[in-house]
Amino acid sequence: MIVELGHFALILALLVAVVQVVVPAFGAHVRDERMMRVAEPAAISQLLLIAMAFFALMHAYVTSDFSVLNVAENSHSTKPLMYKMAGVWGNHEGSMLLWVLILALFGAAVALFGNNLPPTLKARVLSVQASIAVAFLLFSLLTSNPFVRLDPAPPDGNGLNPILQDPALAFHPPFLYTGYVGFSIAFSFAIAALIEGRIDAAWARWVRPWTLAAWMFLTIGISMGSWWAYYELGWGGWWFWDPVENASFMPWLAGTALLHSALVMEKREALKIWTVLLAILTFSLSLMGTFIVRSGVLTSVHSFAVDPARGVFILAILVFFTGGGLALFALRAKDIQPGGLFQPISREGSLVLNNLLLVTAAATVLVGTLYPMALEGLTGEKISVGPPFFNMTFGPLMIPLLIALPFGPLLAWKRGDLLGAMQRLAFAFLAALVTVVAVYAVEHRGPWLAPFGIALGVYVMAGAIIEWANRVKLGSAGRDEVVRRATNLPRSAYGTLFAHFGVGMLMVGIVATSAYREEHILAMKPGDKVMVDGYQVTFTKVERGRGPNYTEDIADFNVKRDGETVATLQPAKRLYDAPPQPTTEAGIHAAWRGDLYVVIGDAQPGGGYAVRAYFNPLVRFIWLGALFMFFGGGISLSDRRLRVGAPARTRAAIPVPAE
């Protein structure tokens, strides 16, 4: 019964969304306030209805109702409760339901908190947002209905892929979706503004918090996925340039560009046309990502052709919104008044460079991801585009971006002083130089470029601190003055500090762990020892154990450093009951200098076990960097001028321009 109620609620949500598309848009056209106001209750009830459907499905999962096809295919009665709940989005149908739920969540948030929006803009934004919902609700109901019943119901379900039964991965999709579905708001604002034919700095101020919130969640979602891959897949990799990863990374790159260009638009009314285009492109990349992941095109071009219903449907959605958005842009862009002028060397100029490089990077990832599919579809020729390609093309684009990054905040708007910025960055250059020398002194192996890569990260971190120090006049003003300035500095400035510092940390972590990782692959018998970067690792024993829904072989490794035991690692090999699938659990001893990472493999023909032991230097900095970026976004979002719903005209209270 609850399942049918959920199904009914989803259909009702579709109808509400249709109303939300038509009535407010028409109301805005004829300036009828009552019709425009329909948008708000519609958006909220749409959210409530989709939430009802979502929780109905979750109820079916939690109670293991195997008369529901989706539950029978993807759940199992012995699965721990947390994974029963997370199982809702661990499959195609359920994850699409989560997709529309988050879409509706953002729509309802605009309805609730967008009180400062002009009524026509708000009505149009919500109307566009609802049109996306209509498309995806139709997709869900027609091709991916999670509420289909199964008769007779099987005694038990097929279970959830065990490598997905992990806390980080269980909560990774909601974050990820909040991120890339969140960019729908930027899209809706862009389309609404194009329809209105009016785009100004206020528009950017309204769009920026939504974009920032979506970007934060996407950042944390991607890094959670990467962290999961690192400890769960068992070979210590953290990024694979897998099409599924690229699908979320492209909107992240474009969204990062959008955050920065919206800044220029807000402060200087420049880059208006570009920012609107970027808002359309960012969400188009989100749709592209959904298409890549959800259409089946990934498995092979042929499987896409065999079962085209879903693929063609999403492709149609993608073409409609991207094509429609771009067509509207082409029609209306010429009416947009160009804004403030600026010199190439200026804050605006640096942000244009940021956008150029980030968008090129996004385009590179996009083409690299789609090229094999397109080529095979067109000519039948099969090629692969993998990590070596992306490292070779993406890497070089990031270097100038990182070099330029600390300059941006130090340059003035309109016309900046490059030499002055360089002088102020002297300490950062020095820090980079010291890093290069120090790394060469400590590490003799690895590629010769690696120390420069680490130095680049240190330079970005130092640059972030210098910018802050400059603004609070650290070193040139008295202590009281510094404290006063530090407390009065807008939160968005601290946001920038944290986010940019995080970028530097990320760079340091990536380069250090890629270049200086130590790896040992060997067959070990109990009692055998191996030295891994100063750790003495002794294989003591292997035992058989039993978890809630798996059996496992747990190995025991004693880890000593300078003769003292610092850790006992217990990497394991698990075999899940349903579906019967093996997984590895790595044993990780994490420290600031790096992770000792031990994995156990199969029993060897000559006795003993295959063992892989790694030392991944500074690998923590990768996720710590991402966390800094996330918190940076959060701090910036809490800035009262950006706060969702804060009155727009509070400019008199701004002591120092943000960023």
């Binding site: 096809l69 295919e73 195609h92 097929n158 490598i163 769960e232 897949l233 068992g234 070979w235 694979f240 340039w241 897998d242 099409p243 089946g296 498995t299 499987s303 065999v306 079962d307 219903a309 002028l341 600026f342 010199q343 190439p344 490089l357 090129t360 990077a361 385009a363 590179t364 083409v367 690299g368 090229y371 080529l375 000519t379 099969k382 090629i383 692969s384 585009v385 993998g386 990590p387 070596p388 390609f389 093309t393 684009l397 016309r415 692959i521 060997l522 067959a523 699938q581 590895t584 994995v599 493999g601 199969d602 060897q604 295959a610 892989r612 400019r651 008199a652 002591p655 120092v656 321009p657």
Partner: protein
């Protein structure tokens, strides 16, 4: 039926593609560390043909193991890295290369970053032209108001 097929396909994909890898086995490794290092580097550039986006260095599929051994055999037979790659490509096709060769069919792939960068630069230069040097441009009233606002606050 289609749904079932799709579900089966997805499961197989999950099993083959995302299964935890153990990849290189201790027994496969070459005694000569320099040669082994070359083998690892080459392996990272070769696709495991039955997997979803994994190199043979990362995959524990049996076929990947066969290819790893093949790479090592060729290296022991004094092939250069390029000769090893050519040998594998001759047997398994271009699909095996994770970094496609620069050819007519991959031209657009390799040139995308350059083309986008140049196109972007072109657009920026075009957009910047009418602006010209505007050093002596007077402030607008709005800017003046903003300026006094900012200065006023600072003086406080």
């Amino acid at each position: 039926m289609r749904r079932l097929l799709a579900a089966v396909a997805l499961t197989i994909w999950a099993l083959v593609g995302a299964a935890p890898a153990f990849a290189v086995q201790p027994g496969e490794m070459l005694a000569d560390p320099a040669l082994e290092k070359r083998a690892r580097t080459i392996s990272a550039e070769l696709r495991c043909l039955v997997c979803q986006n994994q190199s043979i260095d990362d995959s524990d599929a049996p076929l990947a193991g066969d290819l790893r051994r093949l790479v090592r055999e060729r290296l022991k037979a004094h092939d250069t890295d390029q000769q090893v790659l050519d040998y594998i490509v001759a047997r398994y096709g271009e699909f095996v290369l994770l970094k496609p060769r620069f050819e007519v069919s991959t031209l657009l792939l390799w040139l995308t970053p350059v083309l986008v960068l140049l196109a972007g630069l072109g657009l920026i230069i075009r957009a910047a032209k009418p602006a010209g040097p505007s050093a002596s441009e007077p402030l607008t009233d709005k800017e003046k108001a903003e300026l006094s606002e900012i200065l006023g606050v600072k003086d406080r």
